[in-house]
Symmetry: C2
Subunit: 355 residues, 2 copies
């Protein structure tokens, strides 16, 4: 069912009725050394700069500008982080904001909770995240604390190479989902991702399937552990996992650890992910038996004058920083799709200036 820029699946119309009040947006920041593998991610101008993606996203969303670096180096056209969409929605709505360090290399100049212990490892080693249970426990406390002052929470993520670790945990769980995860590039490097994951599974000694904690420890990333903990801690309020196939993987992991029928939980992402022919968001949820409500924000930059934004229509970026979810929930709250698109275009115009 479609309605004013929103598309509902799996009973999401009923879920949307639970959205009342300002609500809180939570951005979970993580790094994994997997992002340094050449060709694996476009979320960062280079392998060296990937470590800055999470703090710069947080700074952009919170302040409207970047602080930790003076400027972002890029080759024109500048394809912007989806954090620009998130920032646009934040600036035109009344969400509270919270930031969570799940395990990052460079701290943002933005106040944040810290639940993790530094960036995750290269999953090719089969050693991805240490202290997973501790991260979950810390995040449970933070989730409860945020929920205590929230009508509902929208959880987004920023972690370069997160779709590769998503594939990693899905295969570690024994699910037959090769080719199901999305990519920030327009040509999804499935072959590279699969070979990376296979190497990791071999080194982790996972032959067949393992449990969710072991899957994260071996093949996941810190964002997953933190987001799982946040959801469990925030169990008393509606939760929106704002992301594509990465958040679908989190939902699958969560369902193995916690009885999600006790949660009011949905997933929300962009049309660019939902309609992506190089990945299969709904396949992940269906095959894993986690058919939670899904809300799609039907944003479009087809009409923009900017090449950098048009790239979204050509399959670049697609999702991240909770862009789809926060847009969808903002629309549920009454903000117009076209106003979000216009705000993004205005902000982008100011960012690139005469460039």
């Amino acid at each position: 069912m479609e309605n004013d820029g929103l598309i509902y699946y799996n009973g999401a119309e009923d879920f949307a009725k639970k959205i009342n009040g300002p609500g809180s947006f939570v951005l979970v920041m993580g790094n994994t050394k997997t992002a340094a593998i050449p060709g694996i991610t476009a979320a960062g101008a280079s392998a060296e700069l990937n470590v800055y993606t999470p703090p710069l996203d947080a700074e952009l969303v919170h302040t409207g500008r970047i602080i930790t670096l003076d400027e972002i180096p890029f080759t024109p056209p500048f394809i912007p982080t989806p954090g620009l969409i998130t920032r646009a929605v934040i600036s035109m709505s009344d969400f509270r904001e919270f930031y969570v360090d799940a395990g990052i290399d460079v701290a943002p100049v933005v106040p944040h909770y810290r639940v993790g212990f530094g960036s995750g490892g290269d999953i090719r080693t089969g050693k991805a995240v240490s202290r997973v249970k501790e991260i979950i426990e810390n995040a449970k406390k933070v989730g409860a604390e945020i929920a205590s002052k929230s009508e509902y929470i929208v959880i987004g993520e920023t972690i370069p190479a997160g779709t590769t670790t998503a594939l990693g945990v899905l295969l570690a769980l024994g699910l037959d989902m090769n080719g199901y995860t999305s990519s920030s590039m327009n040509t999804n490097p499935h072959q590279l991702k699969t070979s990376v994951v296979m190497e990791g599974l071999k080194n982790a000694g996972i032959n067949g399937s393992c449990d969710a904690i072991k899957a994260i420890e071996s093949m996941g990333d810190p964002m997953m552990a933190a987001t799982i903990g946040l959801c469990i801690g925030a169990k008393d309020v509606p939760i929106i996992l704002a992301g594509g196939t990465q958040m679908a993987a989190v939902a699958v992991l969560l369902s193995k650890i916690y009885d999600i029928s006790k949660l009011n939980i949905a997933l929300s992402t962009t049309r660019w992910v939902a309609q992506d022919k190089t990945s299969n968001l709904f396949g992940i949820l269906k095959q894993a038996g986690v058919e939670i409500p899904v809300l799609i924000a039907s944003l479009s930059f087809a009409g923009t004058q900017f090449e950098g934004l048009k790239a979204y229509e050509q399959g670049y970026v697609k999702e991240g920083v909770g862009a789809g979810g926060i847009s969808a929930i903002a629309m549920v709250k009454g903000i117009k799709k076209t106003d979000i698109e216009q705000a993004v275009e205005n902000m982008y115009g100011m960012m690139v200036g005469g460039k």
Copy 2:
């Protein structure tokens, strides 16, 4: 000059006229392994629990309760953290709050900036803080960011054993200040502190004097580096260093790194420090030639029914968590001294309950 619970020194009356608007309170959290030396500090129930003092202080000030531990173990009477005073003032006034991790072991369940890289070392080794210049640079960005939304900033600290590291840097700078720094105990363990510092100076190879950066690297703590950076970054607004001899040491260090005549800076602490016969706050400032304005909050718990609070009148605790400075500035803003004392007593009564 005394006025309604406030005592002014060094031209602080004029400084007080610059205090307009809500202002921001900044709590800088740090740990140093120096705190594990038996007998060096009372800021924490035991050496093992010292690492929890900064996060619990932050949680108490921000939320009115502790989160990271279920309860604080203590032997009656429970002498409370000065964070209780800070919390009382926060709850009855309109300060904005910011929290800064300068280098701690356990993160609080409170959103905070992170400028440091873990706790400082035992100063007996002569290796106290690595990456001092990086901490200062990070903190400068945070200071500028906070100042951009603040009329003025009040900077407090929470770091067990901070008076010992204060002595450490003062002697490292070549100042003759043995016996000048305060203590959280009623019997100031000067002999122990001096022997700890002497061992550190020897191991650091400091024979005579060194510069401020080297003093912090060898004999200081992460809080000092962070606070210096915050002050430099916040140079466009009035700054109140809220603390006793630890903040006096920070002012001295800052004066060696930056032209403080360009800053609008004052120090503010409690009567318990200002009148302490076992330390010499004004001696530190005078002898170092850093005669910035000083505002004293003349709080008293002489009339309380609670032994735990009366202990403050017997020389226990004295200061910390910005308690004196935030009380003084609250009084400048018009809050009554007796109302602060009553609020602390009420909160303490609720904390200890029937105990």
